[in-house]
């Protein structure tokens, strides 16, 4: 009977506990299920978007590299044709067009083909000379820019990447703060650039894997302060904005999960770095 006694003692528990138990505020399982399905659907959606973006990005890259190959092939064909003294452009056209199109039955098509061949010639010249001949016509500019970026991309694959420079001593830490719109280099990185640039035959033989520390203005209650953006959470948004800008400018940069900007730069890119006037930059090796 002792169990029953205790059961009857339960009668005297607080009224609040009795009322509380009457109205459990537990999330219904159906809602949990719905939420789970929702989360699963959201994950699938994000995965799909990511896959599509990756696929699209790869296609663009493949097209760009494929474009280079085609143009190089065309360039070789054109050179060959010029050497033998034939009408090179028309020869290319004959290879690429159906016989009836090149037979002259439709004059506008032939004119269009010639214009196209001229554009190709310009691109070939541009590739050979470094980009001046390509600026013949306004309509050609877009194609030439594409080719230039593709060429740069192709060239970057061939560089030797420098991650550190031990000859300059152990890793150091410089506390200098760059002024807005300026770039500072850590000493070891500076020495590495000097050393390797003296050795390289081409300005793109070497590239340097660096961390970019960003300085900029942060608004606070006491006004705006020029601070190291990587050392404050408030700076994350600005770092991300700058990352997007650098990407748009064609620099090979990436953003880590903790909003540290990193990139791979050639000496030429260091020399011509397009600093934003609102930010100061410090380039260093990751080990510094």
């Amino acid at each position: 009977m002792r169990g029953k006694d205790l059961l009857e003692c339960m009668e005297h528990i607080d009224d609040a506990l009795i009322e509380e138990a009457l109205h459990p505020v537990i999330a219904p399982r159906q809602h949990i299920r719905t939420a789970r399905w929702g989360m699963a659907a959201a994950c699938l959606f994000v995965a799909g978007i990511s896959a599509a973006a990756l696929w699209s990005h790869r296609n663009i890259r493949e097209e760009a590299s494929g474009g280079i190959d085609n143009e190089v092939a065309m360039s070789m064909t054109a050179e060959y044709s010029t050497d033998v003294g034939t009408e090179g452009a028309e020869n290319i056209n004959e290879k690429n067009q159906p016989a009836e199109a090149s037979a002259g039955s439709a004059q506008p098509d032939v004119m269009a083909d010639k214009a196209e061949n001229e554009r190709k010639d310009a691109v070939m010249d541009d590739l050979a000379s470094g980009g001046t001949a390509a600026e013949k016509t306004e309509s050609d500019n877009a194609g030439v820019e594409d080719m230039k970026s593709a060429t740069q991309e192709a060239l970057k694959i061939n560089y030797t990447e420098i991650h550190d420079y031990s000859a300059a001593g152990s890793a150091s830490s410089d506390d200098a703060v760059p002024e807005k719109g300026t770039v500072l280099y850590y000493q070891r990185l500076q020495k590495a650039i000097e050393y390797y640039s003296a050795q390289e035959k081409d300005a793109t033989d070497y590239a340097y894997a660096v961390v970019i520390e960003l300085f900029g203005d942060i608004g606070t209650d006491t006004g705006s302060h020029y601070v190291h953006l990587n050392q404050t959470d408030d700076g994350n948004e600005l770092v991300e904005q700058e990352y997007r800008r650098l990407i748009e400018l064609g620099y090979s940069v990436r953003l880590s999960e903790d909003f540290l900007l990193m990139g791979t730069f050639t000496k030429e890119e260091f020399d011509t770095f397009d600093a934003c006037p609102e930010y100061g930059y410090v380039f260093r090796f990751e080990n510094d």
Partner: protein
Amino acid sequence: MEDNEIIELFWQRSQQAIAETDGKYGGRLQSLSMNILHDREDAEECVNDTYHATWNTLPPQRPNYFFAYLAKLARNFSFGKYDYYHAQKRNVTVVELSDEIENCIPSPNDLEQKMDSKEIGRIISEFLYTQPPEMRMVFVRRYWYMESVKDISLAFHSSESKVKSILFRMRNRLREHLEKEGVHL
């Protein structure tokens, strides 16, 4: 109608008070009584006794928790009826729950101390307030409302095994708490 409005009707000696109470809480009181007695007629009788007792005690009483007040009355009547009808042949549910909750009772020792049921009720309340809300609600639903594990699992949208697990842990914790408080029945 809000509880305080129903209580006000009782205070005004309006017959409407009973109808409103029955409309709002009749089903739950019936269910509570059924959990103890397992007999519809007996349960209805207990619920009617509850309304009668409420009519007689409001005024002067003005309970803060109206349903808890009604439910306590209904539970008392139900246990009373249970004792009256089943003095020799005990109800299966009460036996089952008595056996279960007996696990909470500390083993006796030389300094065994008898406490009155109100004091034990206070100690149990004190213990329940220290427990996570879901666990204490499950415990109250089982040992105060005397609901089946299945009904509790439905009410809390969880599995029966989870409810059983919660009850097992709560019983162990309550035993420790009662031991600490020196409670021996």
